[in-house]
Symmetry: C2
């Protein structure tokens, strides 16, 4: 119940209508908002399907997250499991196919707040990618029906991205046609896999394969870890949760210790390589195919988690910035909407432009992924895999860095209220910051080559000539190589934005407003990397001043459409979880309402204060 | 109890000795570590006092925070109150004066983890600063004995830094010699004050003073809000917690609604201005004195919270980087310590240099503050206040920005484990990020003037000549003005570092190692702002390359002393709260040990999984 305040008649925000300060922003957009929504969704039909899916989810109380900021980890975890189970039921009930559009939208709307993300997003797809037909037929239906819950156990306590360093071993014993799994030391404990800590019954264990006395590198094995009867861990298995993280409280990231655990020969996923009954190792394709599921996960992350985080932060910050008034730009007038300050526009509008730039890039990249997938599956042609891998790593690293920084910029632009969890912004940041961690910059650096950039090549060469050994030279130029990789990705993104705009000639109204964002993105990129352009004289200081001036003009152009542009992302209030960023603009009322629900307000700490006054 | 793993003999980390990988880093430091510790503490005697205080705190189980990552908000709050009460007891028992060195160290060690931070750090000092002798004599002893708990209620739901916009009113009624307090609308609710949500019995309310029909601006009033008998809120008072935040879960930041609340005339703090019995307003000093307590809070934040956050992050990240081995720099060798990679040094060592630069700056600034305080108190001389205010705002904004970014850089440099709360790094970030929020860049911008930088002045002038009105011109140049302010602070810090080094001539060994950090700080500053230097031809691209090369050489110099340099900060493991950054370097063992304590591991969710298997 709400606190009673006699002076004001506090009514529920839901009956207040729309805050006039945000309403006035929507009266005359320069473009048809719905058409931009359709463009982002990939067509009007997809917009309709998405809204249909969202309305079903929003109307089911199991999916409600009104209390999300007030729960313990265990409560959050249990809620996410309930949602996962309910979603399965809904999908059966409504006949949504597992790979269908509805399911895709449902998973995207619920995101990490529904359990079994690794089960659905990695365990099942990896079996499909790396398994043969018999394996797919055996395991996938069980998994889809939640008869088993799977995790993907790759990362170890002591090893992350350096896969060759993984220490878990799987040794083939031809005498009983079994693999024996072991972890030689503490650092080889599997650590971090999602859905593992409390949920998983099975793990897809990535381990060094030994057969006939020889190590054949990393392969994937299906290992049952918990009883299907009482969920207790099986002999030789030690499993648990790794403890709290910066976010993803609802996910049971876990640890797994396997000691002398035996699994049948058929449990090795063997589409691309196999151990025959006598122990002979047989290879049937590229060494690098095992990386493909990682590439897929990475790609999905871009569209499902990383870009939406920045998009939502923009929605919240821009809406809040038209209802928050602070100080006066002109003496004697009302206090000014903070979005009317150039400093605020400078913080927020480049982020908005970035969302569009990244969205279009991700769309193009997904198309490329699907192309490569077809090449591999239909023609056994792995030739595009290295490029796919390099580009996915580079984009993943750049986009997650930029989106994290952008979300944090949006959060800080909301001042004190941006620090309240109720604003929705801290969680957006701490989640997207997690996505930066999956891949280090090292990956980018290792995969991108020095031919990109003259300077790094020159430095590498001169170091080699000066007698420094090659490996030291590689490390010494790593910073330049990383810069080169970023520059290459940045160029690809701008180029892709420009091409996307050129295809919009039949929609001049939305082309016009998006062209402003395209220009703003390009100019902001130049300004953010001005040093690079000035360094070798590609630009003069004066030219840079012109860029700065043009950017300022573009900010003014974006201002009048800013709220309509974020409205076009079409996130419902239920997806934003923000007291300050809701569609109706009633930021203060909602902060006040939501705060009442905090468990801290449940009881006055009497006993504590009596104790306190007696002891001092 | 620990999970039993039969293969390895897992013993408690406390009996393991020191990890050889970190031990080898400490065998031959190029400087006497203890002398740097003394320098940072301000002398060997202060080091001894600090260690004495820390040993007392570390040996008292009430202060133990072994379970800090596993508690609910209410539990964290209650723990912080218990610590605050225990600290008071200890201080009485040991005879530590309130303003004494021991108390200062105790508060610094416990930081925000002890309740009543606003009570001790703002409520009491503000009464001392703004109150007359009678007021100090009445209220301060009660507060020091925790007979009353005070908060500082300034920020409102709708207004933060723009103090003139605050809406709470205090109206003097000469008929009964009382002030009447009111909040005219929702946006005037006091929002954010620490210690308010559940603890405070009294609030120092900042409000617009009305007397004889005229508004005299913001003044401070002592208002009782809760009963001293049963802690219930008094008539006309609505008070509660504002809900969860990005961090500071243990702090009961609160909201406060005052409706027609009457307080006696004596409750206005009246050292510098007063309302006489007939309602006449009398002023006795600078208008701006009310800002002084804000300046003091800000200054304390630098040394007590902001710089230590980056220092601790450096300790954790650098120690972890010598026990984490990943990939191979030279084929055939052991995996490489990640601190041996140039990319890692590039991330971490500039942060380390920054800690020293900021520490020396904060020391100098505190000396300046004390000087101004003496000027005001003894001579009534307010002439330095504007400069103090401007510099404190500028330093606060710059240092909190740089430290936040630096902590996050350290956190990410620790890869996946840096995302675990158990690493200690996420909390350091989410706390120090809070310190960025108290003051917006607007403050800097407003306080620093255009005479700092030619370009902004020129642009302002040309805009004025072109007929744009002055307030628009001010907003348009705000970005350049903010840059100028940052550049000015940056210069002050480098300058201060150089001066500090020049005073170390009698200690050549520590001067030598710190000079490397001084150079690294200066060069990193140039590289981070290379655009500025290139823009107007202060530097050529070639000169910048030389800076880059020099910086690389400096990284190599820092490498051999890196662990000893962070050891010199002398943070005990109890202060770091980090599984991966402890002195003994047993990162993996401690992660594994601590994870077992997570409530998520308390029980297997049987019921949930039985429900799950039945419904699908």
């Amino acid at each position: 119940q709400l606190v009673t305040v006699s002076t004001w008649s506090l009514v529920s925000t839901w009956s207040l209508g729309v805050n006039p300060d945000i309403h006035s922003e929507r009266t005359s957009p320069s473009f048809p908002v719905e058409r931009v929504t359709n463009l982002l969704d990939g067509g009007a039909e997809l917009t309709a399907t998405r809204r249909h899916v969202e309305s079903i989810i929003n109307s089911d109380s199991t999916f409600s997250q009104d209390d999300r900021y007030f729960l313990t980890r265990v409560e959050q975890y249990e809620g996410s499991v309930r949602r996962a189970v309910r979603l399965r039921e809904k999908m059966k009930e409504l006949g949504w196919a597992d790979n269908g559009t509805e399911a895709m939208f449902a998973f995207r709307v619920l995101g990490a707040d529904v359990a079994f993300g690794i089960h659905n997003g990695v365990f099942i797809p990896t079996i499909k990618e790396l398994g043969i037909e018999a394996q797919i037929a055996k395991w996938v239906p069980l998994a889809q029906d939640l008869q088993i819950i799977g995790t993907y156990a790759q990362t170890e306590l002591g090893h992350g991205t350096y896969l060759r360093g993984l220490e878990t071993t799987v040794t083939f014993d031809p005498s009983n046609q079994e693999f024996v799994i072991n972890m030689p030391r503490l650092s080889s404990i599997k650590w971090w896999p999602g859905d593992l800590g409390r949920s998983a019954t099975h793990a897809l264990v990535l381990a060094q394969l030994y057969t006939q006395g020889k190590c054949q590198g990393m392969h994937a094995f299906i290992v049952q870890i918990r009883s299907l009867v009482d969920h207790s861990s099986l002999p030789g298995v030690t499993v648990g949760d790794i403890g709290p993280k910066m976010n993803f409280d609802q996910v049971d990231n876990g640890f797994l210790i396997l000691q002398n655990v035996h699994i049948p020969r058929e449990n090795m996923l063997c589409r691309y390589s196999e151990v025959s009954p006598d122990g002979t190792y047989v290879k049937r394709g590229s060494d690098r195919i095992n990386y493909f599921s990682m590439v897929l996960t990475r790609t999905r992350l871009l569209s499902a988690e990383i870009i939406p985080a920045l998009a939502k932060a923009c929605v919240i910050a821009i809406r809040y910035s038209v209802v928050r008034r602070q100080s006066k730009l002109k003496p004697g007038e009302m206090e000014t909407k903070i979005l009317d300050y150039q400093m605020q526009q400078q913080k927020l509008f480049p982020q908005l432009a970035t969302v569009f730039a990244f969205h279009f890039m991700a769309s193009s990249f997904e198309a490329f992924c699907n192309q490569v997938k077809v090449q591999i599956k239909s023609k056994g042609d792995f030739s595009s895999l290295p490029e796919l891998h390099a580009l996915s790593a580079g984009l993943k690293a750049l986009l997650s860095d930029v989106c994290s920084a952008g979300v944090e910029t949006c959060r800080r632009a909301c001042g004190g209220h941006g620090y309240s969890l109720l604003s929705g912004l801290p969680s957006l940041y701490t989640r997207v910051a997690g996505s930066c961690t999956y891949e280090g910059e090292n990956t980018v650096m290792q995969l991108q080559t020095a031919r990109l950039i003259k300077n790094a090549g020159f430095q590498l060469q001169s170091l080699l000539q000066s007698g420094v050994e090659q490996y030291v030279a590689w490390d010494s130029t790593s910073i330049l190589l990383a810069q080169a990789a970023i520059a290459h990705c940045q160029y690809t993104i701008v180029n892709n934005f420009v091409e996307t705009m050129s295809r919009l000639q039949h929609e001049p109204e939305i082309q016009q407003v998006l062209q402003v964002l395209c220009d703003l993105y390009a100019l902001s990129g130049i300004l953010a990397n001005a040093e690079e352009f000035l360094h070798d004289g590609y630009m003069t200081g004066h030219q840079l001043d012109l860029v700065t001036a043009s950017q300022r003009d573009l900010l003014t152009c974006v201002r009048k459409d800013a709220v309509s542009l974020v409205d076009a992302f079409d996130y419902s209030d239920q997806q934003l979880h923000s007291a300050i960023g809701s569609y109706d603009g009633h930021a203060y009322q909602r902060l006040f309402e939501w705060a009442q629900k905090a468990p801290m307000n449940a009881k006055v700490p009497f006993a504590l204060f009596l104790a306190l006054s007696s002891c001092c």
